[in-house]
């Protein structure tokens, strides 16, 4: 469960980081992102990555670190696939994943 929450965090984080890039922002949302929006997206992206680390490290210490690397790869790959086939759906997918992090994480901690 916590792994799933971390995956959601990783996916939403990478979606944000992806949209912060000018080329992808133009393809998905149309137009160049303003400097302010880029900063916010990058911060959201970093937050997603760090939250994933925090969740896995707290649940499984050093092994959690290995899982974090795997979850990052999986999240980034999912973003690339979404971008290739359904680019317009990317922002919504990212938001849904971001909102899922907290409830899934809580469920995971309660279950363990």
């Amino acid at each position: 469960m916590i792994g799933l929450a971390a995956l959601c965090a990783s996916f939403s984080g990478f979606t944000a980081l992806c949209l912060a890039m000018e080329r992808h922002h133009r393809d998905v949302l149309g137009g160049k992102p303003t400097a302010r929006r880029r900063m916010l997206l990058k911060a959201a992206g970093a937050a997603g990555v760090i939250v994933a680390l925090a969740l896995l490290a707290s649940a499984r210490a050093w092994i959690g670190l290995v899982e974090w690397v795997g979850v990052l790869a999986a999240g980034a790959t999912l973003v690339a696939v979404v971008l290739a086939y359904r680019p317009k759906a990317a922002p919504l997918a990212g938001i849904i994943a971001a909102t899922a992090v907290l409830p899934v994480a809580i469920a995971g901690f309660l279950a363990s």
Binding site: C18, L72, V79
Partner: protein, 516 residues
Amino acid sequence: MKAGFRQSMAFLHTWSGLVLGWLLFAIFLTGMASYFKAEIHAWTRPELHVAAQPMAAVQRGIDWIEKAHPGLTSLYVTAPTQRDPSMQSYWQTADGKFDQAWLDPKTGAPAARETQGGEFFYRFHYELMMPYPWGRWLACAAAIFMLVAIVSGVITHKRIFKDFFTWRPSKAAQRAWLDAHNMLGVLSLPFHVMIAWTGIITLLTMAMPWPVAANYGKDEAAFYSDTLGNDFIPAAGKPAGSAPTAPMLAAAAKRWGERGVNAVTVINKGDAASRVLISRESNKRIGYRPDMLRFDGVTGASIDGGRKTGPALETYEVMYGLHMGRFSQPILRVLYFLSGVGGAFMVATGLVLWTVKRRPSPLDGKGAGFGHALVEGLNAGAILGVPTAMAGFFWANRLLPLGMAQRGEWESRTFLIVLGLMIAFSLLRPIRRRWVEGAVIAAAAFGLLPVINALTTDRGLIASLAAGDWGMAGMDLTFLGLAGMFGWIALRVSKAPRGKPVKKRNRLDIALEGAE
């Protein structure tokens, strides 16, 4: 200088990838299969069931081995687990010869179906079915080439951050293949670097024997006993009685839990210097070093042991542990597996990209050279042939008669035979047809496996789903998934656009049309 450096890295990347690409592809696939070695052991021995009392099963195994081989000097038996019901065992007879078998936990005797099971893929992964030490040397070389390919690939990939999420499957062939190759490489880069590096580390004393040679000369055994501790003491030459192992197993089970024991080793049986070692099932830490209980083989008394520790050894253990991934919980194991899939696809797309990029244009007025045609043929042969050969192994496992002599050997030979046939087939068929037909063969090879399983055993997919047996069901479902994937590949390749000219054609588009 910078342009020259990138170009030379591109050259290095291309050739280090190409020369051993097919071998790396096979090593990747069998390595991925090895993460599910236990499940493969279970699937290939459908007559065996999970043991309710593993320690009693182990004792039965020890009893059988001792009864069948009186006068043996050492034996080793692993405990059955929830994922793998078989008990792998080795023993050494008085004349020094080793033998092995997988034992049935219910009877302690060898399982009815003689097979290597998951061990086949595991050993292939680092020994390549070649005699010692040549297979390992080749695998070691492949790992080093892979590391070179990774580093040079990263350097050569100028737009590594800009293209991080870029994958345009609908673009022209070469661009789409390159995007896929880059993406698969970059997104799992930490895994690939780790797996290549730790792979070399596990063969460390082979790759770099000089420190041991410099410090110990020819006495390698002294090096191992200094670093790993010396449980394997030489025989004293004095015959003595043997204490029963059942109480020792009970003591271990009491300490670590009934399913906490990994394996039992008896050394110098019947000798005064006899020892019994019981190792623990260890998946709680990354570094691979199982706890051990040691007993005097004559008296049955517990003794303290000698595995030394230190920073170098612990570093080695963590690296080895990362490669093996034994600590991985189900989700992490799936991530390891998927990263391996990504890696295999990375190698495959790289191999295909090499041929797509260099396909001769009809404008040149010359056809493909011998080298190019050879690579094209071997590409399809390897990329479609290795998975089909793996399916062939499972076919042999179900279809070869149970009592057949050297049954296990023949299963392994089936792998090579199928691989050889697929390569020959690929080289003989025209370019596009070989991919479509090969993919159809691969899809059929995997898709029919669950059917054969259901027809020849009582543990088909429906039965295992009904019983909640996710190990067996997972294997059959994976076979179906792979069949679907190869079917999709066959469909995509057969539907790929041909012939109709588009406005802005470049030499590559023309070449692709011409390459029929």
